[in-house]
C-alpha cells in the first residue's frame, strides 16, 4: 500500500486537489428547480451569496490584493515625483546637459500639469453632475479590476465603512457603470454592465421597447430577449427602465451600435449597445447610496416656490368657482329668444287626460334679412297669394316670435317647383343661391 501511494503520489495529489475544488464548485452553483426555471434543463445559476455577506475566501483574496492596489493608486503620484527627482538629481551632476535636462523637466511638468488639468476637469464635471443629480451619491475611485477577461469587475476605494451596500448602482456623469456586488470594509466589488452575469432593465428611448442588458463574450453590453423589430436602428439611445430597483429610471446607458439575430432563437434579436460610460478607462465613479430625493438648496427653493404658486393658483380657481355660483343664484336666468316656448305652452293634455310630451323641436334657421324666392320656407307661403311674382315675403307673424310652425305639405311641393322652375326664365337665376343658407 505504501508503495502504491509513493508511486502514484503526484496523481493522487492532483486528483485530491481537483476533487476538492469540484466539490467546492458544486456547493456554490445550483441548478434551478424546473418549476422556477420555467423549463427543464434551464441554465444553472451561480448563487454564491445570499445578500448578507461574502465568501470568506473572496474576502481573503480582496484583502490580499486590494491594499496593494490602494497603495499603488495612492502612491502613484509620489512615486512619479520621486522618479523625476531622482532623474533630475542624477542629471544635475552632468553640467553639460543642464539645458536639455531643464527642457525635459519642463516637458514632464507640462505633461503632469496637463494630466492634472484633465483630472480636474473630469472631477469638475463629476461634481457638477452630482450637484444636479437628485439622488444621494458617493464619489469613489477605481483602484483595480478582477484581472480576468471572463469577469468584468472593478474594485473601488469605498466600502462598508463608507455606507456602501450590495446592489447599489454605480454611475458616472456619462452613464451607468454597474452595481455593487460584494462589499468589504474599505473596498467594494462592482459588477459592470458588460459582464455576462450582470443584468439591468433598460428601455429604448424612441421605440419604447424594454429588455434586459447584459454583457456578451466580447465584453460588450447587449439588450437581449427582444423580438425582431425593424424599428430598432443604430444610434437609438438606451436608458435605464427603473424596474430593477437598482438603477434609477432614465439614466443613459448608451446607444444602439448594431442589431444581431439571436443565434439560438431566430425570432429574437440582440441589440449591441455602445456604453455611454467608458468602461475600459474608469477613474472616478459615483455610487448611488439612496434613491430618496436629495435636492440642493436651490432646487428646494425652486420646489417650494412652485408649490406656493400651485397653491395660490388652486385657491384663486376655487374663489372664481364660488363667485360664479353666487352670481348664478342672484341673477335671473338668461333665455334665448329663439328657444322654444315655456314648458307650460308645450304641454298638451291628451285625450286620456294625461300630458302628452311635446314633439322634438326642429331647429329653425334665422330669418333672412332680405328674403327672396329662394329663401327656404317662403315659396310655399306665396304659392297661394303671389306665385307668379316669384318673390318671397317672410311671414312676419311667424318669424317674429320664432315659434316653430311646420309648413303645409302643399307649400313644400311648391317649393320644389320653384327650385325646378324652368318655365319662368325671367326670374330664375343661373345658379341656385340658397345652398349656403339652408342648414
Amino acid at each position: 500500500m505504501e508503495s502504491f501511494f509513493s508511486r502514484y503520489r503526484n496523481l493522487i495529489v492532483l486528483l485530491a486537489v481537483l476533487l476538492a475544488q469540484v466539490i467546492g464548485l458544486a456547493v456554490q452553483v445550483r441548478k434551478p428547480l424546473v418549476a422556477a426555471a420555467g423549463a427543464a434543463g434551464g441554465p444553472a445559476v451561480h448563487q454564491t451569496k445570499d445578500g448578507r455577506g461574502v465568501l470568506l475566501i473572496r474576502l481573503w483574496a480582496a484583502s490580499l490584493v486590494t491594499p496593494f492596489e490602494r497603495a499603488i493608486h495612492g502612491s502613484g503620484e509620489g512615486l512619479n515625483g520621486w522618479w523625476n527627482e531622482y532623474v533630475d538629481l542624477r542629471h544635475v551632476k552632468d553640467q553639460n546637459k543642464d539645458l536639455q535636462q531643464t527642457i525635459d523637466r519642463l516637458r514632464l511638468e507640462q505633461a503632469e500639469l496637463r494630466e492634472d488639468a484633465l483630472q480636474g476637469q473630469r472631477l469638475q464635471a463629476l461634481v457638477k453632475f452630482r450637484q444636479n443629480y437628485i439622488y444621494q451619491t458617493l464619489p469613489a475611485q477605481v483602484i483595480g479590476t478582477s484581472g480576468s477577461r471572463q469577469s468584468h469587475v472593478i474594485y473601488i476605494d469605498r466600502g462598508a465603512l463608507d455606507g456602501l451596500a450590495p446592489d447599489m448602482a454605480v454611475i458616472t456623469g456619462d452613464g451607468i457603470v454597474g452595481k455593487v456586488r460584494d462589499v468589504f470594509p474599505h473596498t467594494a466589488q462592482v459588477l459592470m454592465i458588460n459582464d455576462q452575469t450582470s443584468g439591468a432593465g433598460v428601455i429604448l428611448e424612441t421605440t419604447r421597447i424594454r429588455g434586459i442588458l447584459r454583457g456578451n463574450a466580447g465584453g460588450q453590453p447587449q439588450v437581449i430577449n427582444i423580438i425582431a423589430d425593424q424599428r430598432i436602428q443604430p444610434g437609438e439611445h438606451v436608458l435605464t427602465a427603473g424596474g430593477d430597483q437598482i438603477f434609477p429610471r432614465g439614466l443613459p446607458v448608451g446607444v444602439v451600435e448594431k442589431v444581431q439575430q439571436d443565434p439560438e432563437r431566430g425570432s429574437f434579436i440582440n441589440v449591441i449597445v455602445k456604453p455611454a460610460a467608458d468602461l475600459q478607462h474608469l477613474d472616478e465613479v459615483l455610487v448611488v447610496t439612496s434613491l430618496d430625493a436629495h435636492l440642493s438648496p436651490q432646487q428646494q427653493a425652486d420646489l417650494q416656490t412652485s408649490e406656493e404658486l400651485k397653491g395660490a393658483e388652486a385657491a384663486a380657481d376655487a374663489e372664481r368657482k364660488k363667485a360664479a355660483a353666487e352670481m348664478e343664484e342672484r341673477l335671473p336666468g338668461l333665455k334665448d329668444p329663439n328657444a322654444p316656448n315655456a314648458p307650460a305652452a308645450a304641454t298638451v293634455i291628451g285625450p286620456d287626460g294625461k300630458p302628452v310630451p311635446a314633439p322634438p323641436v326642429t331647429p329653425k334657421p334665422l330669418p333672412a334679412a332680405h328674403a327672396d324666392r329662394f329663401t327656404p320656407g317662403v315659396a310655399g307661403s306665396n304659392a297661394t297669394s303671389g306665385a307668379d311674382s316669384g318673390l318671397d315675403v317672410p311671414d312676419a307673424s311667424t318669424e317674429g316670435n320664432g315659434a316653430a310652425k311646420p309648413p303645409a305639405p302643399k307649400s313644400q311641393s311648391n317649393a320644389g317647383q320653384v327650385k325646378s322652375a324652368p318655365a319662368k326664365p325671367q326670374t330664375t337665376p343661373k345658379t341656385p343661391q340658397f345652398s349656403g343658407r339652408v342648414q
Binding site: 503520489r9 467546492g24 464548485l25 483574496a61 490580499l64 492596489e69 478582477s146 469577469s151
Partner: protein, 173 residues
C-alpha cells in the same frame, strides 16, 4: 528533437528559490493582474498568475508543487472575480501539474520552448475554464476565441521577458 531531451545532470536538477520569492512573485503577479487592466483596458492580454504557475512548475519539476501552486493562485484569482470559486483554480491546477510533468522530460531553458509552452498552457487554461463553466456547471457562457488566442500570445511574449528575470532569483549551489 535531441535538443529537447535532457542529457546533462544540470538539465535535470531541481531549481530552488528563496522562500520570499515563492511569496512575493505570486503576490506581485496577482496585484499586477488586477491592476494593469486599469491602464491597458481591453488590451490586457495576459494571465500573470498562470505564467508564474507554469514557471515554477517547469523549474521545480515537481508535479505536487505545481499542482498546489496552481490551485492557490487559481483560487486567489477566483476570489477577485464575481464567479464561482474554483474555475481558475482547477484550470491552473491542471496546468501546473502538466507543466511540472513536462519539465521533467524536456529542456525548458530554450526560449522557443518556453514560448510555445506558455502559449499552449494559456489556451489549455481557457479551454478548461470553458469546459468547467459550460459542461460541468451548466452556466450559459460564451467565449471569444480570438481574445483567448491573443491572451495566449500575450502570455508567450511576456514569458520571454519574465522567465529570464525569474531565473536570476534561483539559488545557486
Amino acid at each position: 528533437m535531441q535538443a529537447l531531451i535532457p542529457d546533462y545532470r544540470r538539465d535535470l536538477e531541481i531549481r530552488r528559490y528563496p522562500i520570499y520569492v515563492y511569496v512575493l512573485v505570486p503576490l506581485v503577479a496577482l496585484v499586477l493582474q488586477a491592476w494593469l487592466p486599469r491602464l491597458l483596458g481591453r488590451f490586457a492580454y495576459m494571465d500573470l498568475p498562470l505564467l508564474v504557475t507554469v514557471y515554477f512548475a517547469l523549474n521545480r519539476r515537481s508535479p505536487v508543487h505545481g499542482t498546489l501552486l496552481g490551485m492557490v493562485l487559481g483560487v486567489a484569482e477566483d476570489g477577485l472575480t464575481q464567479g464561482a470559486i474554483g474555475i481558475h483554480g482547477i484550470a491552473n491546477t491542471i496546468c501546473g501539474f502538466l507543466a511540472a510533468s513536462i519539465g521533467i522530460r524536456i529542456v525548458v531553458e530554450n526560449n522557443l520552448i518556453r514560448m510555445v509552452l506558455n502559449f499552449a498552457f494559456t489556451l489549455l487554461s481557457s479551454a478548461t475554464m470553458l469546459f468547467i463553466m459550460r459542461a460541468l456547471l451548466g452556466l450559459g457562457w460564451q467565449t471569444n476565441w480570438l481574445d483567448e488566442v491573443l491572451r495566449a500570445s500575450g502570455n508567450a511574449a511576456i514569458g520571454l521577458v519574465l522567465f529570464p528575470l525569474l531565473d536570476r532569483t534561483q539559488m545557486r549551489d
